[in-house]
């Protein structure tokens, strides 16, 4: 002890990181955000339109909306799960089971449409609650819990459907979910409301910030977004009303997106979901009730999956043994990821559910129009997903390299 030369404690000498990382191509891609996906979508549409001029007709685009309503709704829940940094592999099976519960209650037990739908939603909610409890109480990774659920709920679907295997739906309220269209007047009222609300909220924000002495938000950026919203809604209404009208299923999807975008970006709940996805331990220390939050999100995701399953059943006008199976689960997860929601948690947007569903739905719809074989369809969809995930991973590495290392 006495003979040893005292070694002076030296601070770990980490090299100074530059304060401003040079923007690389991937950084620029990251900053583009949702716009990047909009470009991809436009590209896909142009390609398919060039190959087959029936693609961009109002008839086909209305079909596209009807096709993506179910998977998009499921994806809304998937986004919530992904933001938390978790995964739910049971959403497909849950959507099928919930639809089966609704169908059997309505057709075989004579329940009314609304109670049947509520029972379907409740089925989803209970399963989500179970998922959340298993993940939080027993500390089992959500991947494993929901993988078990994927198998178990598929079994439950067969059980509920019984020996017949298929239940046909004829209740006008249920099939009306995907078979109801609204006309011009409704559409233009919606345009005025949506654009008006968007402009008003932007204006109010400017006023409030000015009153608090804060720098105003970028006016050009806001006006650009407002223009996009206005053009998007007006174009949608023009296209859709020139065919069958504005589909209720599409309104449900967009409405759910809007509600959950608000919840995730403007409320304490959403802030905490992002926080837990970014740093769960740090969030816990900041006083966030992480366990409760996880359970709520798993419950919401499965409930949304149930809603999506019932939309799919309404469109098919039946529930069968393959409801909620096949590639539904993978497409519901792939959509948001293609649109830029991170698989690593904490980064993404509920809008990615809609955008991703549009991208995947357009590819699928377009390839159907070109009468491509499903072998080709699967490979192309897989390729698009792979590219999207690679971009996500590269952006993540770039960000980590750019950020300060500890």
């Amino acid at each position: 002890m006495t003979t040893a030369t005292p070694t002076p404690p030296v601070a770990a000498s980490a090299p100074d990181v530059p304060e401003t990382p040079r923007p690389t191509l991937t950084m620029r891609l990251a900053q583009l955000g949702s716009l990047r996906v909009a470009f991809v979508l436009a590209l896909i549409w142009i390609i398919f339109q060039a190959e087959n001029d029936r693609f961009l007709t109002s008839f086909n685009l209305t079909n596209l909306v009807l096709q993506i309503a179910a998977v998009g709704t499921i994806s809304v829940g998937v986004v919530l799960i992904l933001l938390l940094g978790e995964i739910d592999l049971s959403v497909g099976a849950v959507s099928g089971l919930a639809a089966a519960v609704m169908a059997v209650l309505n057709v075989k037990h004579g329940w009314g449409p609304v109670p049947s739908i509520c029972a379907g939603l409740a089925t989803g909610a209970v399963i989500g609650l179970l998922n959340g409890l298993f993940v939080t109480r027993f500390g089992i990774p959500s991947f494993v819990v929901t993988l078990a659920g994927l198998l178990a709920w598929q079994g439950a679907l067969l059980q509920v459907l019984g020996s017949t295997g298929t239940v046909n739906l004829s209740d006008p309220t249920i099939t009306g979910l995907t078979d109801t269209f609204y006309g011009d007047v409704f559409g233009w009222v919606m345009v005025v409301l949506v654009v008006g609300a968007y402009a008003a909220s932007g204006y109010l924000e400017r006023v409030r910030r000015a009153r608090a002495g804060l720098p105003p938000p970028n006016l050009a950026a806001f006006l650009t977004r407002l223009a996009f919203v206005a053009i998007g809604t007006i174009a949608s209404v023009l296209v859709l009303t020139s065919d069958r009208g504005i589909p209720l299923a599409g309104l449900i999807l967009v409405g759910l997106c809007a509600i959950f975008v608000f919840l995730m970006t403007r409320t304490v709940f959403g802030r905490h979901v992002f926080a837990v996805g970014g740093n769960a331990e740090g969030s816990r220390r900041a006083g966030i009730r992480v366990t409760r939050l996880r359970i709520i999100v798993f419950t919401l995701a499965s409930t949304l999956a149930a809603a999506g399953g019932m939309l799919a059943a309404a469109r098919l006008q039946a529930v069968n043994q393959s409801s909620g199976g096949s590639d539904l689960l993978l497409l519901a997860i792939a959509g948001p990821v293609i649109a830029g929601t991170s698989l690593f948690g904490g980064r993404g947007s509920v809008w990615h559910a809609l955008l991703g569903a549009l991208v995947i739905g357009s590819i699928s719809n377009g390839m159907d129009l070109l009468a491509l074989e499903s072998s080709v369809k699967f490979m192309i969809t897989g390729g698009v997903l792979l590219i999207a995930v690679v971009i996500d991973a590269v952006i993540k590495t770039q960000r980590e390299r750019a950020g300060a290392r500890r």
Partner: protein
């Protein structure tokens, strides 16, 4: 080495007496006394395993000691949980900072204590971003944290010093009286260390009692008023930085007898 005669008259902001903590048969802390005054920076030093973390965790209520009394502003208090410590006004900034890289500065500052919109929107727990941003700017300005380009920058893209500043600023939102900093400059380069040390000095100007854990002797002599040395679970020495040399502190940490020349320690201190 401290003027222990003044202790009788003076009420310390936070004082711990006779803190003892055992882990099984191992006594991690043995009757340790500790005190910090308002507007004072006390450095807590010691080799690995000396008991620094254990002492801090007992003060922060994370691992309460088996024995020991705690006094806050002269009154005896009980610190048995992190909540007790928080309510007394003791905040801790841990080494890993616990920031969310994916959120911006404002969101990180207010994490877990977000401000809510008034009126009918409050039912949905809608975030009051305008108030939070205004308060964040005010807080950072009062700490002279000026290197941030925008409080809407993602924390993940900030430098190490800026992140440390954000973590310290966040702990101040709870309006603490005592702030514990666990090796705030451990992973920082020279310029960023300077930035953080200046911030720590401003905390003293605000009248906080700062407990500063560090291994870096030159940093300690830069910011601290007093140095408390722990070795093998006991408080072995206390220095006033104005009346001590780095060599003496290093000698106390390692337990070696003070020799006339300790080359490395000397060169370290002058850098």
């Amino acid at each position: 080495m401290t003027a222990s005669s003044t202790h009788v008259a003076k009420r310390h902001l936070l004082e711990a007496k006779g803190v003892t903590k055992r882990f099984g048969a191992v006594e991690a802390l043995t009757g340790v006394n500790f005190e910090v005054d308002a507007g004072e920076i006390v450095a807590l030093v010691g080799d690995n395993g000396a008991g620094k973390s254990t002492l801090i965790k007992s003060i922060a209520g994370i691992q309460p000691g088996e024995e020991g009394q705690y006094f806050f502003a002269g009154d005896e208090v009980s610190i048995r949980s992190p909540l007790d410590a928080t309510q007394l006004g003791i905040a801790t900034v841990y080494q890993d900072l616990a920031l969310c890289d994916n959120l911006d500065v404002v969101a990180n500052l207010f994490l877990g204590r977000e401000e809510i919109e008034h009126g009918p929107q409050s039912a949905l727990l809608t975030l009051n971003e305008v108030d939070m941003e205004a308060r964040a700017l005010e807080l950072l300005a009062s700490l002279s944290v000026t290197t941030l380009r925008s409080v809407r920058t993602e924390v993940g893209s900030l430098s190490g010093g800026q992140r440390q500043s954000v973590a310290i600023a966040r702990s101040l939102l709870g309006d603490p009286k005592v702030l514990i900093l666990d090796e705030p400059t451990a992973a920082l380069g020279v310029a960023q260390t300077h930035q953080v040390l200046e911030l720590v000095k401003r905390l003293r100007e605000r009248g906080l009692g700062v407990i500063y854990i560090s291994h870096n002797i030159s940093d300690i002599f830069d910011v601290a008023d007093r140095v408390i040395v722990l070795r093998l679970g006991r408080r072995v020495a206390t220095f006033r930085t104005s009346a001590a040399t780095p060599n003496e502190v290093v000698a106390a940490i390692t337990g070696s007898r003070l020799t006339a020349t300790v080359p490395q320690a000397g060169s370290e201190a002058t850098t």
